[in-house]
């Protein structure tokens, strides 16, 4: 018995169904292992690396892989290992370049300067602080990435609430900030990895992505902050004496403390703005459009590193190699799954979902993506669904892409393991001896996530269909 690929439009060859099911079991094993990452005490890159090795060996054993030379753009034949072209190097370059750029820019003191200025501007009022930190989380998540945003805002929250004698509110602040990282992660094409993967696969430009996502992000942020203040009893300071005392306490923060050089601070600020502008206009810039966003990210990282030319190795040490290894391994696994027709099999299931109609199909895909993302990493989901939707020839304007984007990002708000940034929020809670179990997090976060998902579904079905 054989399974013929119908939905995914790439090189089709017949694969026995039992072989496809065997590879499906490998994929399920990978997903389950990632979901149990904490229990296994193993890093993502190692988990996915093991499955990449197994997949490649099985792929070779069943003669599924296209061994042989690869033809490059010049028409030359190159002998490359089969797993090298399997990796989306464009995505890897964006992530590596962006993280290096953000790391060096952080060293200038720019982000701590902004964060402390906002803290002082709040006058130490808890409600104003929640709004300021919430807004900052969203913007930092959008401009940097949601993990860095959570680390910056979460660390400052712990220090400033401690100083203000409001440690009792730390857990609530960290929870709301954690949930907002995934809302902010929706804002631009480069704000989160699922956005990069889906946006690249769908061919959505940076500007189009922003225009579609921004209204939702704005509304979801306001609603989350309103609910966060209400459900956690975070109020304005009542008396003048309280206000004066709080203002005096936050006045002790010195925003200039981490600044090594005034000139480099301004340079970093200018480069950050320029980075966003160039990324936003990559698709229309001459020459740059051909080189892509990965080139832009890497170029900006290199320019920033010039400042620390004698110690660039320190920044290389700080790169999240686990994340990059994870991506590389994941792309290899997915590529093998494609050859084993596993994606075709899933695509058939997806076709049934899409067949539910514009409203049903889009809505079910969004919720299903969210539920899936809540228990395991949203990146494999985004990578897999993008490949399948791309293979089905889905139009770039289709709401299905947005169902995946919204579902994959917001699903991370349901459980602490749903996204890297919520995991960081829980890590900061534990670091400050705040009790937060898996179930405890779900109980507290689910109401917010449900509201965000309902809004997202309404938004996609009403405005993007």
């Amino acid at each position: 018995m054989t399974f013929a690929l119908s939905a995914v439009a790439h090189s089709v060859h017949e694969v026995p169904l039992w072989v496809t099911l065997l590879f499906s079991a490998v994929l399920v094993g990978l997903v389950l292992s990632l979901a149990l990452e904490e229990k296994l005490h193993a890093k993502k890159s190692l988990i996915v690396g093991v499955f990449a090795v197994i997949s490649l060996l099985l792929g070779a054993a069943f003669d599924l892989l296209p061994f042989g030379p690869v033809t490059n753009v010049f028409g030359e034949e190159l002998a490359l290992p089969v797993y090298i072209p399997a990796i989306d190097w464009g995505v890897i370059a964006i992530i590596l370049g962006s993280s290096l750029f953000v790391d060096v820019t952080s060293r200038s003191g720019l982000f701590t300067w902004i964060a402390i200025r906002l803290t002082k501007l709040s006058g130490g009022d808890p409600l104003r602080l929640l709004w300021f930190y919430g807004g900052m989380t969203v913007v930092f998540s959008a401009v940097l990435n949601n993990v860095t945003a959570m680390i910056i805002v979460g660390s400052l929250t712990a220090v400033s609430l401690d100083r203000l004698g409001r440690r009792d509110k730390l857990l609530s602040f960290l929870l709301v900030e954690g949930l907002l990282t995934n809302v902010g992660g929706l804002l631009t094409l480069i704000s989160s990895v699922p956005n990069i993967i889906v946006g690249t696969a769908a061919g959505i430009s940076f500007v189009s992505f922003f225009v579609v996502a921004a209204p939702y992000v704005l509304v979801a942020t306001i609603v989350t902050l309103l609910l966060g203040a209400r459900w956690n009893g975070i109020h304005k300071l009542a008396t003048e004496a309280e206000k004066e005392e709080a203002a005096g306490l936050v006045a002790g923060f010195d925003e200039r403390d981490g600044i090594e050089s005034e000139g480099f601070l301004w340079f970093a600020a200018a480069m950050t703005i320029l980075f966003i502008l160039v990324i936003a206009t990559t698709s229309v810039l001459p020459w740059v459009s051909d080189l892509g966003m990965g080139f832009v990210a890497m170029s900006f990282a290199v320019i920033m590193l010039i400042r620390y030319k004698a110690e660039v190795d320190r920044f290389y040490d700080a790169v999240d190699w686990d994340l990059l290894g994870f991506f590389a391994g994941l792309f290899v696994v997915i590529n093998v799954m494609e050859h084993a027709q596993v994606l075709g099999l899933i695509g058939q299931g997806l076709e049934k979902v899409i067949a539910l109609g514009d409203i049903g199909g889009t809505g079910v895909l969004l919720i299903a993506s969210a539920v899936f993302s809540s228990v395991t990493d949203n990146i494999p989901l985004a990578a897999m669904l993008s490949k399948i939707l791309g293979g089905m020839g889905t139009d770039p304007s289709s709401p299905l892409w947005w169902s995946v984007v919204f579902g994959a990002n917001l699903g991370g708000n349901i459980t602490p393991i749903g996204s890297a940034s919520t995991l960081v929020a829980v890590t900061i809670m534990h670091k400050h001896k705040l009790d937060m179990s898996f179930v405890g997090f779900v109980k507290k976060a689910l109401p917010y996530a449900a509201v965000q998902l309902v809004f997202a579904t309404i938004y996609v079905l009403t405005f993007l269909r």
């Binding site: 701590t112 910056i152 660390s155 712990a158």
Partner: protein
């Protein structure tokens, strides 16, 4: 080091103590002696001379106590509780024959500093001019010193008060070189911590915190319109000899230091050492 720790450290470093200038109220001064009435009176007059520029000195209420009135420690504490002074003046080896051997302070002084909250001004013994021969009334050059200078408002308030208008305030902090070396020696044996980086960063941060505090004090005093010249002396070294050198180099008239340590009945170790050994200068013990 994780990135969480990196940013947490950056924000903790940016969270600095604020200084707010407040005047210290000194209206009642008690002078303890172990002398008879005549000698006690003469000593009291000398103390008045020395503290001539303190606050509204003409309005100060003075009580000079003879040896008869507080022979025991109990009597002394009762007297302090009853008279409620803002400042107690005394000298080393009060009611003790150990003054011949300069190795202790005396039970009276040690108990007084630890049991009451009243600042104790340790002056030269009667008949000794060394230590206060040149200093007669503010403005003084006052050196505030402690191993925890940053954030200590109480210490600075008193130092500013005693320096007086037009005086000089020296904020001194000496990081213990031997302790630092000991920790660096341990770090050098830990493969996970880069030794050179640790040495450089820890030393810089240790010296930066008191320097930042001194800058904050200078700024706030200037904004409050206090006419005082503030300087900071922050360095690494062996504490006692370094403080001795700083006192001598800067011609300090008075030392101000804390003597209490939380959770401890005895006087703070370094304070005790300084109080016993720095006999060439009056010491205000808080």
């Amino acid at each position: 080091m994780s990135r969480i720790d990196q940013f947490a450290s950056a924000f903790l470093a940016a969270s600095k103590p604020k200084f707010e200038h407040r005047e210290v109220c000194i209206e009642r001064v008690l002078v303890l002696t172990d002398l008879d009435e005549k000698l006690a009176g003469a000593y009291g007059a000398r103390v008045r001379d020395f503290l001539g520029g303190l606050g509204q000195s003409e309005a100060l209420a003075w009580e000079v106590v003879t040896g008869e009135r507080c022979r025991s420690i109990g009597e002394m504490l009762e007297l302090v509780a009853e008279w409620r002074p803002h400042l107690v003046c005394g000298y080393r080896n009060l009611h003790s024959g150990a003054w011949r051997w300069p190795h202790s302070l005396s039970d009276h002084i040690e108990v007084l500093t630890q049991v009451t909250d009243v600042p104790v001004l340790l002056l030269p013994r009667p008949g000794e001019e060394k230590g206060w021969e040149d200093a007669t009334g503010a403005p003084f050059t006052v050196m505030a010193l402690t191993d925890h200078l940053a954030g200590d408002q109480h210490l600075v308030h008193h130092a500013v008060e005693f320096a007086g208008s037009g005086g000089r305030l020296l904020l001194a902090h000496v990081e213990h070189q031997a302790v630092f070396d000991r920790y660096m020696d341990v770090i050098a044996r830990l493969p996970r911590i880069p030794t050179d980086l640790a040495r450089e960063d820890i030393k810089r941060q240790l010296l930066k915190e008191p320097a930042d505090w001194a800058a904050e004090v200078t700024k706030e005093l200037s904004e409050a319109g206090v006419a005082i010249d503030v300087r900071h002396l922050v360095q690494m070294g062996q504490r006692l000899p370094t403080y001795q050198r700083l006192i001598s180099e800067n011609n300090a008239d008075l030392l101000v230091m804390n003597t209490k340590q939380e959770g401890q009945l005895a006087m703070h170790g370094l304070s005790y050492q300084i109080a016993v050994e720095m006999r060439s200068i009056p010491v205000l013990m808080l």
